[in-house]
């Protein structure tokens, strides 16, 4: 059947603007597809994605699960004879996919654009300043032993972050639903969804796909550290909830090493041990991410603002979190409270804007991997 191709100059220009400025250099030799370790053999990527992007065929790219099967190993970019950097181009298209499916669209545009950075940061800054003001600490730090809930009481923390998380979850849900529907058009799904999800989770946990990379194979460890430290920190947070409300609602008292009640907790507490190890792992992981990117930038490309803002936010969260604890223990209130403030602002930034930032990759990539398994491309 003859398919009608509808070139879209605006889409071409927006891929170029989104970090795919090397896109047009591709002359379709398919070296990229040959060196790619993660592509399926049937209708492999990224050669075809390059020409779709060159011709501005938005529909063939945005709802294409292959875009997410790519893990940006950059083997293609390193071997490209024409300097077309397919890895970077696919990265740009992923960013556009995130923007395309995220609602509200205006927020998505702001997250992807450096000129709105201060405005986006201003929102959590104002929220937390208002809370601090309500506690009367806008002009003076709380007295006595450093306890961060004196600055921002726990109900505020819970309220604000629960709201941010719900907002993010709703945005993700809407985006993924639309994405799944678009991908499914004209595709016959044969696999069983539950086992596809299970396989995908196992694949993510094992980081199997990263091992197929050559040029940037160090990335596997870096991503693994970041990934598991996030899980560790999620466990820690949940654990905090148990300690707090276990004490408050169920009246559980402190026993053995388990210090039920409000923070801060002593360093020997298992919760604290898990939290601190996760924090150090996160800092190590994200530092490795940065150093790998610097090291490989000639071969793999420099990355876009979209990538870097995400990395910087995580880095600031890890660093400010650790420093908050260190400064608290050192009892330097004048530095400890401002550090905690920074920590809160950036955590909000990460959570609330997740569906619009590179954080969304965890959702879209997982969805695409599940879809690929269902449609026999996994």
């Amino acid at each position: 059947m003859t398919e009608q191709i509808k070139p879209d100059l605006n889409f071409i220009n927006s891929v170029i603007d989104a970090g795919g400025e090397s896109l047009k250099k591709c002359f379709q030799c398919a070296t990229c597809t040959v060196v790619c370790g993660v592509t399926p053999d049937d209708k492999p990527f990224p050669r075809k994605e390059m020409i779709y992007a060159q011709w501005g065929l938005k529909d063939k790219l945005i709802s294409n699960p292959d875009i997410w099967l790519c893990h940006q190993c950059s083997d293609c970019t390193a071997h490209c004879p024409r300097g077309a950097k397919p890895g970077e181009v696919l990265g740009a298209i992923r960013k556009m996919t995130i923007k395309h499916y995220a609602a509200p669209a205006a927020l998505a545009n702001m997250v992807a654009d450096s000129k709105y950075l201060l405005m986006l940061l201003a929102l959590p800054v104002i929220i937390f300043l208002l809370v601090i003001a309500s506690q009367g600490h806008l002009t003076s730090f709380p007295e006595g032993k450093i306890v961060y809930s004196k600055l921002v009481p726990i109900p505020f923390i819970d309220g604000i972050f629960t709201a941010a998380a719900i907002f993010a979850a709703v945005a993700f849900f809407g985006g993924v639903k639309k994405y799944w529907a678009d991908m499914s058009k004209g595709v016959e799904l044969k696999g069983d969804l539950a086992s596809a999800v299970k396989e995908t989770i196992m694949e993510i946990i094992s980081h199997k796909r990263f091992d197929k990379c050559n040029v940037t194979k160090d990335r596997s460890l870096a991503h693994l550290l970041v990934f598991f430290s996030f899980i560790g920190l999620a466990i820690t947070t949940t654990w905090c909830v148990f300690y707090l409300y276990g004490n408050k609602l169920l009246g559980i008292e402190k026993f053995a090493f388990f210090n039920f009640g409000a923070s801060p907790y002593p360093l020997y507490d298992p919760l604290k041990i898990v939290g601190n190890i996760s924090a150090l792992a996160l800092l190590t992981g994200i530092t490795l991410v940065i150093s790998n990117r610097m090291k490989n930038k000639d071969k793999a490309g420099e990355g876009s603002y979209f990538d870097w803002i995400f990395i910087v936010v995580i880095y600031v969260i890890a660093a400010s979190g650790i420093l908050s604890e260190v400064l608290r223990l050192a009892d330097i209130a004048a530095l400890a409270y401002p550090m905690y403030f920074i920590h809160l602002v950036f955590i909000f930034f990460l959570f609330a804007y997740a569906p619009f930032s590179k954080m969304a990759h965890m959702v879209y990539r997982t969805t695409a991997m599940v879809f690929a398994k269902c449609s026999g491309r996994g």
Binding site: T2, L9, K24, F27, W55
Partner: protein, 741 residues
Amino acid sequence: MEKKFGVYICKGCGIGETVNIEKLKKNTAGGARIPADSIKEHDVLCSSEGLELIKNDIKEGTNTIIIGACSPRVKFEEFDFSGSLVERVNLREFVSWVSEPMTEATQTLAEDYVKMGVIKTQKGNMPEPNILPDLSNELMVVGGGITGITAALESANAGYKVTLVEKEAELGGWSAKLYKETPRQYPFDKLDDPIIFDKIKEVESHPNIKVRKSTMVEKTDGQPGLFDVTLSSNGSTETIKVGAIVMAAGWKPYDASKLGHLGYGNPNVITNVQMEEMAKKGKIVRPSDGKEATKVAFIQCAGSRDANHLPYCSSFCCGTSLKQALYVREKNSDAVAMIFYKDIRTPGQSELFYKNMQNNPGVLLTKGEVTAITDAGNGNLYVEADDTFLGEKIKVEADLVVLATGIVPSTRGPQEYLDGLTEAGKKGDDAKKAYVEGTEKPDFILNLGYRQGPEIPTLEGAYGFADSNFICFQYETRRTGIYSAGCVRQPMNMSEAAQDAAGAALKAIQCVEHVAKGVAVHPRAWDTTYPDPMMIKCTSCKRCTEECPFGAIDEDEKGTPFYRINRCRRCGTCMGACPERIVSFKDFSVDIVGSMIKAVDINEDDFRVIVLACENDAYPALDSAAIKKMKLNPAVRIIPVRCLGSTNLVWVTDAFSTGIDGLMLLGCKYGENYQCHFVKGSELANYRFSKVKETLDKLQLESDRCQLVQVSISEYDKLPQMINDFVERIEEIGPNPFKEM
């Protein structure tokens, strides 16, 4: 000139360790009857001391010098003693480097070569150049496009008077019809304004250039240095004399009316030539209603690289479409240009332009075979294509389709007409007459007065492009003194055409300078000898006139052959052809080679095989094999010949009657894929030798004793084995029975 001989043997490069020099000198003195004190040796003859030895003897009166050292293809300047007859005997490459040292067979081999060298100088004479009177060193350039204009300017700036002939009323050709040119300078990203108008001004005001517009060449007679060219303009004619001609008659676009399958005929389907006109006028529009075009499709190889149309690549069309894509983009930044290609071919620097255009967001490219142009219903068209990078079968809407049509050389029309005439001629006079009356005669370009036909020949399988020795001498045609340049000989872009023009101008200058000195024009550009027939013995058999590849020999009214010597390239094909053996050069004749063959030492116990080796390919190939120290059977004696076409059949008799056991001819490859330097020498030799075999059979000599082998220079590593196998075959056949007589 009374000859005083001097024989000089070099002992360097291993010769002294392979051959007993004392014995060689002694036997040369005895065998070749040279006074013993005229035979000298030196450790390194090409050293200043060694050369001094020879120069001192020249001062003492020695004038005939035989140098037994390395190949004549090296140390050319060292052993150049002008005023003396010099013969180089190749002891290094043909003896020392290819034979077992200090054996009897090697010793005899070296002695034979020296003897043959001495005999060659004994029989030969100092050449004297043949300079014809009243030579012109002016040039004529036919065609006033970018190639012709550049050729005229290059020659004129080098100080030569030029007549530039243009058929049209204005100079400039196709390049004057362009809106813009592809970039000429790094970084090759911006289009340039046509350069041709500056060049036209320069040509028209140049004191050395006479421009003849609206002019055709009615007749070209004569020979290099003495061409009589009749020009006709608006009904009046004039004859001018020129020394050499650059033929830059250019090309025509392929007839797009044959491209109906690509939509030509629809008003919104135009050619790249029409696109230039449109861009020059202003906006890029849909011709059917004048609406601005925003989706322009370019179809590359429209009729090119297509067995049904033009089977070749026209070379410039990819660059042109990329340029026109930029017209589309520059005139409207919302417009896209979509290019469908077979392969993008952007030779030379235009690759950088391709990269730049590829980087333009609105220039979209895909490989694909365009299968149809169909109506999209809204005044636009669908371009349908198979096997694209975007999918197997796609279609895309376009408001304007541009066909990148290729070029047809201006020589093709005349060639097809002449081919048709030849075909008709074969069917008889009536058919020929009917052909002439019924066929429209195309514009002829040079109207040559040559027996081989009125136009520059075209190569077999070259689709009507003018003759060109594309391997070695691309501007050379088979008509000495006439050089083809630009798209008339090969498709090319403007910068290549300008370079081509400069090259052809240099060849034309070489031609007039060489004939002024009485030296062969090319490829034997050092050669002052020339064929000098003893006409008293001529039987007017016309074999020489028929076989000369360059039309240098014609018959007068009485049927007697005469030479137009400046057309001659000194290949000696006439010498090989002549049954009366009357054609000789001062240093190369039937007698000289025959005597060299007879000088070979024959004894009943050893085999002897003569190899006649073409000087152009076979001889350098043998030198190359020697550098690799590949061993040759010492039964072999190599004698260089100018061209296998110069091989006279009497040498076969000379060889076998003397007792030579085998005769091998090493010549160039002939046929469509290879270009013999003298066009058809080895082909002619092959033809002649097919007759020899019958003669040999009659004499009860096995015809296998005589073999012709075609070899190209790149096969040098196989050559020693080929020769050694031949010697083995001869040994199987057994000794020549005439040996005992």
